[in-house]
């Protein structure tokens, strides 16, 4: 079939011209699109495959000495505002008091094993904890609990975000796209663990990224690097080598998550956690 069979020279030329114009238009559209997208997003280094990893952090509560170096290192590494109130990770001290003398026995039965629980975290634990928050004779038990983003599989913060700025990456980290975040702080309210804040500098939501810029380059997160007692265990669940500290920890310890009743499926596992910890 010949479309030009009955066409005059003028008609044929104009048809060809239109095809050429169409191709040129397509070409410019491609370039304009690339330019616009180049302004919206930046290209970055290659060589890291997010689908090949599953990063996780675990906490050994029994090893934490409450030095607060992790919280301090986190602030330095991630340029978190120095003021108290802005933390991506912090350390809490739990003090469980002895029950009061009268509360112990009622109608001849022992009714209370423990007294009131006091929790404090002065400046997130940066600078340490004074030993005298509660007089020693009144203390039944006391311990430190490091806190961070719980890397929930069903993260409430992710579901609350109205603009798709926060998400769970293929390598298991919940991140906030600072170019998309509008700073509405719905996610701050949604997080049941209090792990997010609105940065007074960028006015976007910020949170623990597991030091994404470090772990993608073969380094440990700053808090894990700095922890002097090995209370924080970090590794790749997809790394099957026997030397993987995370796998060893999972095999040898009895684990628990924070607020499991909320159904958020946290992926930060704690060993040695007391039921009093929220």
């Amino acid at each position: 079939m010949n479309v030009f069979k009955n066409a005059t020279r003028r008609q044929a030329l104009s048809a060809l011209g239109r095809v050429a114009a169409g191709l040129a238009a397509l070409f410019t559209v491609k370039h304009v699109k690339a330019a616009v997208q180049g302004a919206v997003s930046t290209p970055a280094p290659k060589g890291y495959d997010p689908t090949a990893h599953q990063w996780q952090m675990a906490i050994d509560v029994e090893k934490c000495i409450g030095c607060g170096l992790c919280a301090e290192a986190c602030k330095k590494e991630n340029h978190v505002p120095k003021e108290p109130g802005y933390f991506r990770t912090w350390v809490e001290r739990y003090i469980i008091k002895k029950p009061k003398a009268g509360a112990m026995v009622m109608h001849g039965e022992v009714v209370m094993a423990r007294g009131e629980t006091v929790v404090d975290s002065p400046n997130g634990g940066i600078g340490g904890f004074s030993p005298s928050a509660v007089p020693k004779p009144e203390i039944l038990k006391s311990f430190f609990v490091p806190k961070l983003c719980n890397l929930c599989r069903h993260s409430p913060c992710d579901q609350a975000c109205p603009v798709g700025a926060t998400f769970r990456s293929p390598d298991g980290v919940v991140l906030v796209d600072w170019k998309y975040c509008i700073g509405c702080s719905f996610c701050v309210q949604a997080c049941p663990y209090g792990c997010r804040f609105i940065s007074p500098v960028t006015h976007t939501a910020e949170k623990c990224t597991l030091c994404y810029h470090r772990i993608t380059h073969g380094l440990k997160p700053a808090c894990v690097e700095i922890c002097p007692t090995g209370s924080r265990i970090f590794g790749d669940l997809k790394d099957l080598s026997p030397s993987n500290p995370l796998r060893k920890f999972y095999e040898n310890r009895k684990l628990q998550t924070l607020k499991p009743h909320l159904g958020t499926e946290p992926h930060v596992f704690y060993a040695g956690l007391d039921g009093e910890v929220r």
Binding site: D177, A222, I226
Partner: protein
């Protein structure tokens, strides 16, 4: 038989509707980044941007590249497992350019931070009552931080 003709007001409405829909799709085409939806309902390129941030802490492996002697001594001490930067502070700048010298640690604040007695610390962890344990003496006079039990 004449063809049924659309009233002009409807034709205009139809054209405006088509134009609005076309503008919407054109805007979407240009504004949605190509990596959106690669892994999920977000911009996959953000992962690369987050990974490209600069680091502040160099990591113990970087220290061992030059300071191998003190690292070897340290590895035999009770302090093994403690990162260099836990006491010496963030040394990413020093690791990148050794001409940038880290500040010397002259006080015992770092010792106390971990080793001052506190009822919340694990019982097995070595702790001292700072007021009683050789008060007035600097920690460094008896303990070398790189090998705390050496010479005791």
């Amino acid at each position: 038989m004449s063809q049924p003709k659309l009233p002009p007001q409807l034709t205009r409405l139809l054209l405006v509707t088509v134009a609005i829909v076309a503008v919407y799709f054109a805007a979407r085409h240009f504004l949605v980044p190509p990596s959106f939806g690669q892994y999920g309902w977000y911009r996959a390129d953000f992962l690369k941007e987050a990974a490209a941030l600069p680091t502040t802490y160099a990591g113990a492996a970087a220290c061992a590249e030059c300071h191998d002697k003190v690292v070897a001594k340290f590895a035999k001490s009770k302090h093994k497992g403690v990162a260099c930067e836990a006491c010496h502070g963030a040394q990413g700048a020093h690791a990148d350019d050794p001409a940038i010298k880290p500040a010397k640690i002259t006080d015992g604040l770092f010792c106390v931070r971990c080793h001052a007695a506190n009822p919340a610390r694990p019982e097995k962890f070595p702790q001292v009552n700072v007021a009683e344990h050789n008060a007035g003496t600097k920690c460094g006079e008896c303990h070398s931080p790189h090998h705390p039990t050496e010479g005791l």
